[in-house]
């Protein structure tokens, strides 16, 4: 199964270009350079996909949302006024698109008939078992179960808290950057993060006590 995760190119994760390079990159993007967009894809596609995956219901939806986000970046780059960094501007588009998608998904869920045999309903709750050579199948399964439980708890969080927790804990953004992405004050970021963590801690109390 190792080749199932084969990479087709260099994709930096958790990395964004330096500010001085960013200005040149933005200029290239505004000029419509295909190479600049290829670079943008290489740098941001994995972090954005990870962020969106935690914001929407399942992987298939996350792929569609990511595609919409990239199209919005392409169409909107000429309106980017560089008052915020390119990274926060891109993340803002991703968070808004994921929120809109989730809202429309909920509407569809309540209005459209569905079958209990529908595979896609169970995909998001199925734990992904990632075994490595160093760990036993049991510990790999336990690890996957643990991750699935944390993901479920995260998915159940109310949206304002989930967005802040994902941006802080998983994407590693600073309070200031989160404020820019969500368009809220730093104090609001702190309070949402506190409440989000508190809620998660309550939901995962049993798991956390075991891990201590």
């Amino acid at each position: 199964m190792a080749d199932a995760f084969r990479s087709i190119g260099v994709a930096l994760d958790r990395t964004a270009p330096a500010v001085s390079d960013e200005a040149a990159l933005v200029a290239e993007l505004k000029a419509g350079s295909e190479e600049a967009f290829a670079y943008l894809l290489a740098v941001y596609q994995n972090p954005l996909f990870n962020l969106i995956s935690h914001m929407v219901a399942d992987q298939g939806d996350a792929a569609d949302v990511l595609q919409n986000v990239l199209l919005k970046i392409l169409r909107g780059i000429r309106q980017f006024n560089e008052r915020s960094s390119l990274k926060t501007w891109i993340y803002r588009i991703a968070v808004h698109e994921a929120s809109n998608y989730r809202r429309s998904w909920r509407r569809r869920l309540f209005h459209e008939p569905f079958s209990m045999d529908d595979e896609s309903l169970h995909l998001s709750s199925r734990p992904a078992i990632c075994s490595s050579d160093s760990e036993s199948p049991y510990s790999a399964y336990e690890q996957a179960e643990c991750q699935a439980e944390v993901k479920r708890a995260l998915a159940d969080l109310a949206e304002p808290y989930r967005a802040v927790v994902v941006l802080r804990e998983i994407e590693g953004l600073s309070y200031e950057e989160i404020g820019e992405v969500l368009g809220v004050a730093e104090g609001t970021v702190k309070s949402r993060l506190r409440r989000g963590r508190e809620t998660l801690k309550r939901k995962l109390a049993a798991r956390l006590s075991r891990s201590l």
Binding site: F5, R6, S7, I8, G9, A11, D13, G32, E34, F37, A38, L41, Q45, N46, F49, N50, S53, Q59, A62, A63, L66, Q67, L70, L71, L74, R75, A128, C130, C146, Q147, V150, K151, L154, V165, R168, E169, I170, Y175, K190, L193, R194, R197, E198, L200, K201, L204, A205, R207, L208, S209, S211, L212
Partner: protein
Amino acid sequence: MIFESCSEIRANFSDYIDGVCPAETNHSIRYHLAHCVPCAAELERYEALHSELRRLSRQQVTPQLALRLRVKVSQELHRNFFQRLMVRLDNIFKPLLLPSVTGALVSVVCIGLMLSSAAPRASDGPDVPLDLVTPPRVQLLAPVNLDDTGGQPIVLVTHVNAEGRATSYTILSGQATPSLIQRLDQMMYYSLFLPATSFGQPTSGDVVLSFRRITVRG
């Protein structure tokens, strides 16, 4: 800042684990934790949650999705008809470019090799003059006495055969006395000429000779 209760302390745990509390608050929290076991346990749970969230596997874009995104971006960048046409032509011709250039180069090399093997070898002997037609030239002129010409120049047209011998001549200017003609006949008999050539082959031709008596005082 001095906290009164555990709830006040716990309200700062979120900021504390992110390291954004002011130094004074940090100091108060550490002091409180040193004396309050339930709050220390609560902080440990916060930290465990923090590490569980950080340990979540990061979702990666699959190769198929990455390709789909590249194609979508390319389509979006080339939305008008002309740009789409250029991309299509580019896609058609780019794969052919390398084979066609390689084929052309190989052809040039092959033709070059064939021509170099078919070229005549350089001759070791003296080169044949490259001029297509050359006139006859004097190789050795026999001495002739021109004392009785009165200082007038004598100009002759001499016909030289393919063997380089003068076969006849005509006097163009000068007094043609019988004694002069006799002396000119002797000179022509003993003189040697390089014959005229045509495409490298010796042939007969005419050469103009001009004689003048040169006198030196003393």
